[in-house]
């Protein structure tokens, strides 16, 4: 019963962090629309950067990094909780990648005149999405928890190594995607008000990611604890 109780407590705490993250993300909208100057050449279309760029940071680096790290740790330590953390991060990362792949074309249609181009960044994000999907599909196709954890850890590690290769492959082609304006050598090339908004949006999306991760992880633990409880209860009943 204690496993269930602690998972329920984690679920509530994760919920609090998630709500805080959600409020902060709402703050990004308010700040971006009302308190940040409009970009001179792109106009209102540029506002989508405040959602697109932080989602990309979460999806491509933070969430996938955590999948990779916890996959390696799982294979060494064999603690089922590490597997639940990696898979929760993969699920949340898939959601953020979806946001990136939806917001990007909306901006692209306005500025480039096309929803999609086979540009370096777009292609690598799309392939990362395919790896996330393969990871989730693989998990759904394996019943036994130990085997599921091992298989997904192997795929998580291989995927983490594939990402730099995709990046290098697509960089040998030309790129249309705007280059970074904040994380670049030298001083950021954006006005102060925009810089504050973009940095704040990165913070807000990071907090929101950890809220979702925590809650998803607690939920997975709760499901595991209940399944175990049912199994033990069933064993008692037959005795």
């Amino acid at each position: 019963m204690t496993a269930t109780a602690s998972a329920e407590r984690a679920l509530r705490r994760g919920g609090v962090l998630m709500a805080v993250g959600l409020l902060m993300v709402a703050g990004v909208y308010v700040r971006a629309l009302l308190f940040t100057p409009e970009e001179a050449t792109q106009g209102l279309a540029q506002k989508i950067f405040y959602i697109h760029a932080p989602s990309a940071w979460v999806a491509l680096y933070l969430a996938y990094g955590i999948v990779g790290i916890f996959s390696v740790l799982y294979l060494f330590l064999r603690d089922p909780r590490l597997d639940l953390l990696a898979s929760s991060s993969a699920e949340v990362g898939t959601v953020f990648t979806t946001v990136v792949l939806v917001t990007g074309p909306i901006w692209g249609k306005t500025i480039w005149g096309a929803w999609w181009t086979w540009d370096a960044r777009l292609t690598s994000t799309l392939f990362l999405y395919f790896i996330y999907l393969a990871y989730l599909v693989l998990r759904s196709a394996v019943e036994e928890p130990g085997r599921r954890a091992r298989y997904s850890a192997v795929l998580g590690i291989l995927g983490a190594l594939l990402v730099p290769f995709i990046h290098m492959t697509v960089y040998l082609f030309r790129t249309l995607h705007p280059m970074p304006v904040v994380l670049q050598p030298g001083r950021p090339r954006v006005p102060g008000a925009m810089l504050v908004t973009i940095l704040y949006s990165f913070l807000a999306f990071t907090v929101f990611y950890f809220g979702l991760l925590w809650r998803r992880y607690a939920w997975a633990r709760l499901a595991a604890a209940r399944a175990q409880g049912d199994a033990e209860g069933g064993a008692d009943a037959t005795r």
């Binding site: 294979l75 392939f127 395919f130 790896i131 999907l133 393969a134 599909v137 693989l138 196709a141 394996v142 085997r147 091992r150 298989y151 850890a153 192997v154 795929l155 590690i157 291989l158 995927g159 190594l161 594939l162 290769f165 995709i166 290098m168 492959t169 040998l172």
Partner: protein, 226 residues
């Protein structure tokens, strides 16, 4: 090290002998390849796109799908007869098992490619002989990377529901580097571009091969039952 390679060779020889006796997988992969090449000819407008422009992508799409078909065989034969337990109980190490399976797959896919290549040259009217040496090198490197990842994935896919479909979902994302670099180099070869133009792609493909051969050998044991 020598004993690992010896064991790997024994496992590969066993797999190849099994395949040589029945030839079912090999023949079906070959017929499939010929069919794909023929269908591509119907699916294009010969007056709009010249066959030399289309040829590299056709070649690599055909090789990718034929290769995945071949990979399914490696572990499904062991599963059908529950012989994988015998292999795991044998004194052969898990590394030797992986290397043996990968070697057999390499020979299998290589044999399909060796027959498909002249067929491809015939159907698409590509002057193959001038560039044969470098092209074989490109095909060999891409096939090594593809088989390294594919052998590992097929060991997992065989234990999942809808294993054959699962193998495609698992392997295809990993083909982006070998297939796109190889297709790019093939295009440059057919256009008789100088080596300096395709050298960066060759380096990238080489780095991919080294990384994934080592990594897959290391993690293979986690895909097996303990």
């Amino acid at each position: 090290m020598r004993s690992v390679l010896g064991q790997a060779w024994a496992i590969a020889a066993k797999d190849l002998l099994l395949e040589f006796r029945s030839r079912t997988a090999f023949l079906s992969a070959l017929v499939f390849t010929a069919l794909v090449l023929a269908i591509f000819n119907f699916a294009r407008d010969p007056t709009a796109v010249s066959s030399v422009d289309l040829a590299p992508s056709v070649l690599w799409i055909t090789f990718s799908f034929a290769g995945v078909l071949g990979l399914n065989r490696a572990f499904s034969v062991e599963k059908e007869n529950r012989t994988i337990d015998g292999l795991l109980l044998s004194p052969a190490s898990r590394t030797a098992l992986y290397l043996g399976k990968a070697l057999a797959n390499l020979v299998f896919v290589g044999a399909v490619e060796a027959i498909a290549l002249p067929l491809f040259a015939l159907f698409f009217n590509v002057p193959l002989l001038d560039v044969l040496g470098p092209l074989v090198l490109v095909i060999a490197l891409a096939t090594v990377g593809f088989v390294a990842v594919g052998t590992l994935m097929s060991s997992m896919a065989v234990n999942t529901r809808f294993g054959e479909m699962m193998l495609l979902v698992l392997v295809l994302p990993f083909l982006i580097t070998p297939v796109s670099t190889a297709a790019e180099m093939t295009a440059k070869l057919f256009a008789h571009r100088p080596f300096a133009e395709w050298a960066p792609w060759l380096k990238l493909l080489g780095a991919y091969d080294i990384t994934f051969v080592v990594l897959c050998t290391l993690v293979f044991e986690f895909t097996l039952e303990e």
